[in-house]
Amino acid sequence: MVSGAFGAVVGRDLALALRLGGGGAVGLAFFVLAVVLIPLGVGREPATLMRIAGGVVWIAGLLAALLSLDRLFQADHEDGTLEQLMLGPLALEQVVLAKALAHWLTTGLPMTLAAPLLALSLQLPVAALPALVAALLVGTPALSLVGAVGAGLTAGVRRGGLLLSVLVLPLYVPTLIFGARTVENALLNLPWLPPLALTAGLSLLALALCPFAAAAALRINAR
């Protein structure tokens, strides 16, 4: 029964994200644009681009994930949906998890799928692509989960997006370091499984802690 309810919340958030004004595709579009702009600014020297490709993709990914985070709970807080969800049979922690999952499905997953093409445009060798995709796949869930904590804290704040960025971006640093390191190691023919494992470990840590933190923040906001 609970899994049905969980699915209902995920499905509704996905439907809302894909409707007009939901902003579901905005994150992906920003991600693509940001990466495509890099060669225009940095120049098309292949060696330079190849060197920075992993970091560029990751930073663009962080910013794209942030872009849609500020509405993760704010919209539901403003129109009373959160109050009703709090009375429902799902624990608020489960609601947070469902909404973070929906956020990942509309940002992290599309970015992971689009990353190989974009990385090729940055001259990243094909041999390094598996590392990039793997790192994004296991690392982007942390972006949605950690972001959910910031989104919960700023749910009641008008124009909380900026505050959210300031709160959340420092917490993204470990994922950024190990995610980019995974790509770099693959590029330098070093073992890339250890940094990948650390990236995945950060996501698991976020999965364990963040739903509780975000739910606590939302409870404070509901008062």
Partner: protein, 244 residues
Amino acid sequence: MTLVVEDLVCRRGGRVVCGPLSFRVAPGETLLVTGPNGAGKSSLLRVLAGFIPAAEGQMRLEGSRPAAGAALAEQVAFAGHLDAVKPALGVAENLVLWARLGMPLRGQGDAGAAVQSALSRFGLAHMAERPAAECSAGQKRRLGLARLLLTDRPVWLLDEPTVSLDRASAALVAVLIGEHAATGGITLVTSHVDLGLASAREFSLAPTSAAAPAPGAPTATTAATGATPAPPRPADDPFLEGSW
């Protein structure tokens, strides 16, 4: 099943908003909570719904149906100032989530049937497939109230349910409250307009900021009036008490 409230105090931002309050609501009873603006009517309902933790006192459900000792928040249907209606979704689509959340549904049948009957009860069946963005303010409010009819929750907390409703819809709300009471349900409703609830018991809240405490409750607002400096109790929420 009886709703029992004992010495309930609600604080917001370190200020006593209402209480201490003690009352019982018997099964099938409707309590009309009245009082001037700022008397704490909405806060009382939000405490009962569990959104605001009670600063002091107790509230519980007594009786056999549902399981004794069940958390109050799991037995409550709340309709507040916000309708929780998503304009981007369809009218029926808005209700489907709440029917699919796995709460026991009213009546027989599946989620779709429950949604259809709730919509037709509120006169929204003809626009079930339209986007909710096309709803007027009153229709949106009706859509929010229709959620009450989806699930089988014994305690209804209605905060100004008739705002922006037309006369016929307001009368419908009164009828539904009556039907809810007939099945043994409890309703707490605040309203500034006469709902025509003949059987409702009135429960009046006095504003706590008044200099003179309400008669019969002389120590009600010591914290607010500061007449006797209360001993510094451990702040249960320093973030909201302003002492951080």
